[in-house]
Symmetry: C2
């Protein structure tokens, strides 16, 4: 499975040649003189799914100007950074499944995914150095710093149901939305956009990333593992505080609150996720989170209004809807 | 403890101002808006000891020309990359002690050192982008790829006493010597050296790194933990094949060989290292390894002969001796 062998495919139609070129570059980036390393990279490539970040590079390249051969490299680079962070994430979360496949840590222990993640990151960075300007190196170094800082802060905030929304939004802004923002801004920069457009487009990416992560965090609690295709409930198991759990915590009082805290913080026989779903009505919580995600997507839509109609714009509009409605 | 509060200190006298400037940059690189992250960085900084890589940057800067303010940044960057890889190494090895201190994984589990290592790496890379040319970014991206590939190959070759020397030398060339080579060549490049000198100087660094790692691998088996200041025997515990174990394996036959393989590959009560030392005479093996290290250092010395006498050259000559004789 490469790009979007799913619903997204016709959404990507306007940028199909660009995405295919990115796949070729990504394939080269993940080929090694050692056959064993290449085989590991092939497995890693299967964890990538929707190719949302490369799609943003190409869609904004086409929206603001003319995509160049550099967009092919940029698409591969942002996907490689994303895959690299997935590998480390799955180690940190002890996750078993990713896109319906066993994770690299489930297959080989922690050593291989840590090292293959480091290697992929270094390779992707190396590739940024071949581009015509340093913009990609700079943007992506900054995004990488943000990703790490978000993950570290998230780790500090484990098992803290008293967290405020601001801390949660800061964490997901860093760990998820920064790379979405960089994907959009780089697509625009390398198509010759002016600085004001670049910042508007970055804001689109950041808002889309926020919405994506909020929905992802809801799926961790109420999603269908068969549909989502990855281990769910890992946020709960590892004590990651997410918008649905924070909002639930705030709603509860008295005995309900006590039961929630025990469920969240004490060792538990069986699945914490199933216990949570059995004990509490999560529908109103999920509706609240959906409202937050909608607000971010509304910002995306407002930004798109500045641009003239065209196939890329229409795809971006549909992408906004897709992020909100995805069941996977 | 910062730079060389040990024997190395007067060896570093000719470059003391440069090294101090690198310490300042490293301090900035490891300061974060989050106090908790800054505290973690402070602990990480204590794991750095001899500052060999920054010293090489400054010594070769002075040897081939005039060190600039960029050497201060370069020294900090190579040390940051080294510290970042130490953090991931200690996770992979499950090491408890580093420079007489508990490792970050011993203190906080695996998550924090993986993320702090990723963050430090991204920060260091970001800093390379502020330099006047892309040489540092390119050299260090390549060195990082080599480090990861060396570690991955080493992981594939665990518990393989039939390994040949070539595979071992390839592993240590990648995981250790490449960053030594880059430290030397960057010192020369940013002082304006011609390409031929840069390659000679890189060869010095690679040979010094090989010698350093061979001695390190001997210390893992026969070193004094109190003197070396880090967990020893971890190579044996984690099945890493090193020059002393490969040479021992090759020397043994019959019942001795069988005992060795059992000791190496079977679960063992107590320390594998102590059992190995009790069962076999390791002196001739260590002498053989020392001969190999000497040969690499002889290459270093031959390269230094091309340069005129001066304080940096005299320090580099003494550094060669230091690598061979160190007990820590």
């Amino acid at each position: 499975m490469t790009i979007a062998a799913e619903a997204a495919s016709d959404l990507y139609a306007p940028i199909a040649p660009g995405l295919a070129a990115s796949e070729t570059v990504l394939g080269e980036l993940m080929r090694d003189v050692s056959e064993s390393v290449t085989d590991l990279f092939k497995t890693v490539n299967l964890y990538g799914g929707k190719r949302l970040r490369p799609a943003l590079v190409h869609l904004f390249g086409g929206l603001v100007g003319q995509p160049t051969h550099e967009h092919a490299a940029l698409g591969a680079i942002v996907e490689a950074l994303h895959l690299s962070s997935l590998l480390h994430d799955d180690v940190l979360d002890g996750a078993d499944t990713r896109r319906r496949l066993p994770t690299l840590n489930a297959l080989h222990g922690n050593e291989i995914p840590i090292l293959i993640g480091d290697l992929l990151y270094a390779r992707a960075f190396s590739l940024t150095l071949t581009l015509s300007t340093q913009d990609a190196s700079r943007e992506l170094a900054e995004a990488s710093v943000a990703i790490c800082r978000g993950e570290i802060e998230q780790s500090f905030l484990r098992f803290r149901p008293d967290l405020d929304d601001a801390a949660y939004f800061r964490v997901i802004g860093d760990k998820t939305a920064a790379l979405y923002g960089a994907s959009c801004s780089l697509g625009a920069i390398y198509a010759g956009a002016d600085p004001q457009t670049v910042e508007a487009v970055r804001s689109f990416g950041v808002s889309l990333g926020m919405a994506f992560q909020i929905i992802d965090d809801c799926l961790d609690v109420v999603g269908d593992e068969g549909l989502v295709g990855k281990s769910l409930g890992t946020d709960l198991e590892t004590g990651k505080m997410t918008l649905p759990t924070l909002r639930l915590s705030r709603r509860l009082a008295g005995e309900d609150k006590r039961r929630f805290l025990v469920l969240l913080q004490q060792p538990l026989e069986g699945s914490r996720r199933e216990a949570l779903r059995a004990a509490f009505d999560l529908d109103p919580i999920v509706a609240e989170c959906q409202t937050e995600a909608n607000a971010h997507v509304a910002n995306c839509q407002a930004i798109l209004e500045r641009f003239e109609d065209g196939p890329e714009k229409r795809s971006l509009v549909r992408l906004c809807g897709f992020v909100l409605s995805r069941g996977y």
